[in-house]
């Protein structure tokens, strides 16, 4: 039987685990069915355990009725003891299986929950930089953090409903055996009452959705205030944003009250229906006792069953609500899981040689083997775009499409909006695929990058762009995430990137903890640690985009010099206009409108190329200069 955490090895093939099946993403219902099929045994067994746990409630009233009739009213001590013994046994079995049921239900809940999180992680691992192009980060995260919980809740309610249904039928059978009229009442009345109450659930559900979306808006406002707190305290605006928060908080309160009142109505109706059901059962029972068709003990049993019926009714309410929620969540999960990487592995992959020349056809850029080439462009995006092409990355040129459902649309409008979102996502995917499958236009040693395996490309060409971030963990993990370096290598990387001060600032040295995204470090420190990590990876071709933009000149000069020495003999491309790097370049390439218009040595170009001089000298009186003129 499966246990938690489950073993999931879908989507991403980079770990050694034997692959497990992919989820069915054809429709939300199909997805849920797939999810449930994964743990059929656990759910079936937990239904059985639940059934046994319900035994005291299913059989208790019957036993009690028999005990009243035979033991108490007729005064037979052996019968009384016998029925008491049966009752004790039923109670003990029920209690034991209560624990078993709880254990199994936690198991199936967590299998769904952890499994979903694992699938999301593996989806990101599989898709890499392509996923954020298509789906907003928040959406990806919420599949793991909240939708996964709905799937867990679904397994629980299904197991419980199945057991409740069986015990409901058992009770109906017991009641039928005593009186067919009452048996029919039980069988008919409960579903009728349930059907009568169901229409109340829809408006409740809608109000709960509004409440949830207002609350999440409120949370994002609070996060926003905290994120901009320095500005609010430094420049002002506390009143405005404090007031905006308070207004939203009141809106959330009203939504909460409105859904709470409906919830209260549902509860009230539930009490009413259960009460009326019980009264009619008992009243009919008393008539039958009077006419001699029913014994007193049997009547007492009915009382117990009247109370018991509240359970199945409540459970089916829950089933309806949770299924709806699970379907909504399944749709969100599908939007993530159905994405496919745009890349196609070439049928005959060519090996790449990182010590060869790399050439970009679009811009006409060439990096000669073993040299430090600096790319200069008046428009930094253009050199960043070149770096992306050299590393075979899709450009960040899309607006990810979300799966938001909180915009209050109903019925047809909602469906239309959803179809529209699906179309937009499909369009991005189609475009990605179009770009990713044709000739890439960058040749390494004469081999087009699309003719090689993508992981080979990643191994040969490392692009460290401005968006490169750090992960939480120790400094050692940050520099050596793969655990492949010796201490000396790691030290060297730190020194070359002039990031020794980061080491020094952490009392635990290599084992000092960095916060998520390196938040505790200054911009310059973060940039230098990122650089050290890129250097330590020791890629045959290293492409650095603005590697020292947040570092003071003093340090930048040191870094440029040390990087040049370290990378001696290996191909390195740096995109920057800083003269400190240009001094060290073997070759400088000037881009204009994304095209190579000049190349050569820094000094020569500076002396003879007016356009180049324009760009570089312009950078000499950088922005600070603007400030002080």
């Amino acid at each position: 039987m499966q246990d938690f955490p489950p073993r999931i090895a879908t989507f991403f093939t980079g770990t050694d685990d034997a692959p497990t099946s992919d989820p069915d993403t054809r429709s939300p219902a199909a997805f849920l069915r797939w999810m449930l099929r994964q743990q059929t045994r656990v759910i079936v067994l937990s239904s059985l355990a639940c059934l046994l746990w319900l035994m005291p409630m299913t059989f208790g009233p019957y036993i009690f009725g028999r005990a009243v009739d035979e033991g108490i009213l007729q005064g037979s001590t052996p019968d009384l003891l016998m029925w008491s013994g049966v009752m004790l046994a039923v109670v003990l079995v029920g209690g034991t299986f209560g624990v078993v049921f709880h254990t199994l239900i936690v198991r199936s809940w967590l299998i769904s929950l952890y499994g979903t999180t694992q699938m999301v992680t593996r989806k990101i691992a599989q898709m890499g930089h392509v996923l954020p192009r298509r789906s907003p980060t928040g959406e990806v995260l919420s599949v793991s953090s909240s939708d996964s919980d709905e799937f867990g809740a679904l397994t629980e309610i299904l197991a419980r409903t199945a057991a409740q249904l069986v015990s409901y039928l058992t009770v109906a059978a017991i009641v039928l055996s005593m009186s067919w009229q009452l048996g029919v009442l039980v069988l008919v009345a409960a579903p009728v009452l349930l059907g009568a109450a169901l229409p109340l659930l829809r408006p409740l559900h809608r109000r709960q959705q509004v409440e949830r979306s207002r609350n999440s808006e409120l949370t994002s406002m609070a996060t926003d205030i905290v994120a901009g707190l320095r500005i609010l305290r430094g420049i002002g605006g506390e009143d405005t944003f404090g007031r905006n928060y308070a207004l939203q908080s009141q809106r959330a309160r009203l939504a909460g009250v409105s859904s709470g009142v409906w919830q209260a109505a549902v509860e009230g109706i539930g009490v009413l229906f259960a009460g009326i059901f019980m009264v009619s059962l008992v009243w009919l029972g008393t008539r039958q006792v009077n006419s001699g068709e029913l014994s007193v003990g049997e009547l007492v049993s009915f009382l117990g069953y009247g109370l018991f019926m509240v359970g199945p009714i409540r459970t089916s309410f829950e089933l309806a609500q949770k299924t709806t929620r699970a379907l909504v969540s399944a749709r969100k999960a599908i939007a993530i899981f159905e994405q496919r990487p745009p890349w196609r592995e070439p049928s005959d992959p060519q090996p790449l040689d990182g010590s060869a020349e790399i050439h970009d056809e679009l811009s006409g850029f060439t990096a000669r083997p073993g040299q430090l080439t600096v790319v200069v462009s008046a428009v930094p995006e253009k050199s960043a775009a070149l770096a992306d092409r050299l590393g075979r990355y899709l450009p960040p040129d899309t607006d990810p499409v979300g799966e938001e459902d909180g915009d209050g649309l109903k019925g047809r409008a909602a469906r239309r909006a959803r179809a529209d979102r699906e179309r937009r996502r499909a369009r991005i995917a189609a475009r990605d695929e179009e770009v990713a499958t044709r000739q890439w236009g960058v040749r390494l040693g004469g081999v087009d990058l699309s003719a090689a395996r993508l992981d080979d490309v990643r191994r040969q060409v490392l692009v460290s762009d401005t968006g490169s971030g750090l992960f939480a963990g120790t400094l050692q993990d940050a520099i050596d995430p793969h655990g492949r370096l010796t201490r000396e290598e790691a030290e060297a990387a730190l020194r070359v990137a002039n990031a020794e001060d980061v080491y020094d600032a952490l009392p635990e040295g290599w084992q000092g903890q960095l916060d998520e995204r390196g938040r505790g470090l200054s911009g310059g420190q973060r940039q230098r640690v990122v650089l050290a990590r890129a250097l330590a990876a020791d890629a045959p071709i290293l492409v650095l985009v603005e590697p020292t933009s947040a570092v003071d000149a003093h340090t930048e000069a040191r870094i440029a010099e040390r990087v040049t020495t370290l990378r001696h003999g290996r191909t390195t491309v740096v995109c920057t206009v800083s003269p400190l790097w240009l001094h060290h370049a073997d070759r400088v390439v000037l881009l204009e409108d994304g095209q190579v218009v000049a190349d050569g040595e820094h000094a020569t170009l500076l002396a003879h190329d007016p356009v180049y001089r324009g760009v570089v000298v312009r950078s000499l009186d950088d922005v600070d200069e603007v400030l002080l003129r």
Binding site: F12, T15, S145, V226, G260, H554
Partner: protein, 639 residues
Amino acid sequence: MTDLLATSPDTWRERDLDPPVIPPELLPPGKVSWRERNAAFWQRHDVRRQRAEDVYAASRNPERGWPVSGNRAVLAFFRELLVSRRGMFTALVVLNALAAATGLLVPRLLGELVNTTVDGGGGLPLDTLALVIIGVVLAQAALTFVAQRTSTYFGQDLLSTAREYIVRTILRLPLGAVEGASTGDLVTRVTRDVGTMSRSVQYGLPMAIISLLTVVLSVGAMLLNSVVLAVPALLTFATSAWAVRGYLRRAPKAYITEGSTYSRINTTLTETVEGARTVEALGLSGVRVRAGNDDIEVSAQAERYTMSLRNILFVALNFAFGTPRVVTLLVGAYAYHRGWVDLGQITAAVLYVEALSDPLDRLISEVDRLQVGAASTSRLLGIAEVKPDRSPGDRLPDGVELVAEDLRFAYRPGHDVLHGVDLRLGVGERLAIVGPSGSGKSTLGRLLSGINRPRTGSATIGGVELVDLPLEVLRTEVALVTQEHHVFIGSVRENIVLAREDSDDDAVRQALSAVGSLLWVERLPQGLDTIIGSGRYALTPAQAQQVALARLIIADPHTLVLDEATSLIDPRTARTLEGSMNNLLAGRTVVAIAHRLHTAHDADRIAVVIEGRIVELGSHDELVELDGEYAALWRAWTS
């Protein structure tokens, strides 16, 4: 110069010696005898308890981040909230008590019905009795509705008041603390802790009150129904007391631990998603997948611990609440023969026994939800315990001259980063501060803009200490401009009028046109009222920076301290913003902490800061003439 990596050999760890994420003693043994398995289970349970206690202790005394308040503060906070809603609270209690009481009448009346049926008369006729019961059921339904409605109003009101209080507190945090500390911890508090607190305030508190009332009233009703039948049942219930107590003592710590494992899962995943490109570039996918799996393994252990705690509780509760059925039956039969009770009382007693376990279950789970909520609340209230760093005086500056004398400052006692800095800024002067990183440039900037109070010496404007000015005044005198250009969720207008919230539209338009943004703002769907910020209308980086500059124009300080302002202006947008920046700086005194040495030479004066001291001060030409640090750096630079 000492080697900063001197301790490297001591702190480097060999990865193969890394302990497994889950210590081996937490793995279940293979095939062993039942007795050994049982012993191993309890051993694991103990290890897990220890882990939970460690996590809890760490969360109460965070090494970094904002303080955490004590239990007493939490109690006082809630007491105050309750006291100020005395009327509503009373209504809540009374209505819920009534709803519970009518609910308890039903079994009693059903018992009566049985009696009437058995005796065939005596009391009320059957049909009348049935109608009475229907009436009671109707009343119960109506009361349930009204009581729940009151609970909702009460819970939502309490919740909105509490969260608004927290946000107000955050908005009053001392300037120095805000500038100094990381906001990460604060983000966790306003998201996760407000969430946990919400749940316990909104549902936990009313539910706990309702369940408690139901339990108390049920016990009362049992005793009223028949003391003989009630006492044995109640005694059996009482056997679960020790288990409940043990559970309530351990569960909150266990749930807090569990919660922290989930936030760890989320953090790791967030990093993986946001760093998807980095992950791919460095081939870290496998590492991230494993990191995610490790988090889940740790979380699973926390889940196993809470599961065992609940199971242990259930064993006790199932016994304590199951056996009374048998007890009531046996005692009932005996008492019936003795003529102490009638059949209706036995019936009612059994129904009560059946009905009691539900509210009690709920009470227990609400109590532990409340405890978890209290832990979150103590973190939220901790924010309020940050001491204010200034008490504004009533003197207003006389003049605009910024003068610093003998400034010394230490972040850690005994470790001064500034060692007596004197500086006198001329009105309208441009001063550049240069120096290697870590020399104290930024600290000097913060003292000059009144963010921190110097340890000794003074930074005054027009003769008044900067940190003694009320914040509203300070902001219109000196502004510190850092690399942050956050766009708030709010209208364009709200994003700009920060410093003078009463500014009219003309002022906003003027500011916008000064930074060259009026055109695009007017093209927005709702002009100045367009809601911008994260998740709304997205601004380009250049537009975001223009908004940041327009804020400063509205604030209109006569002195600007620019720290790493190059980062404020992304090189990509520098061209566009050049004019905006010039408009902002025109006619103001400017202190620019410069990254790029060569850019300093256009400033009126340059201050070279090295190791917390101004070692050289003068114009570019003077300093080159002086042939000291600056000249040396300059030569290295331009060669």
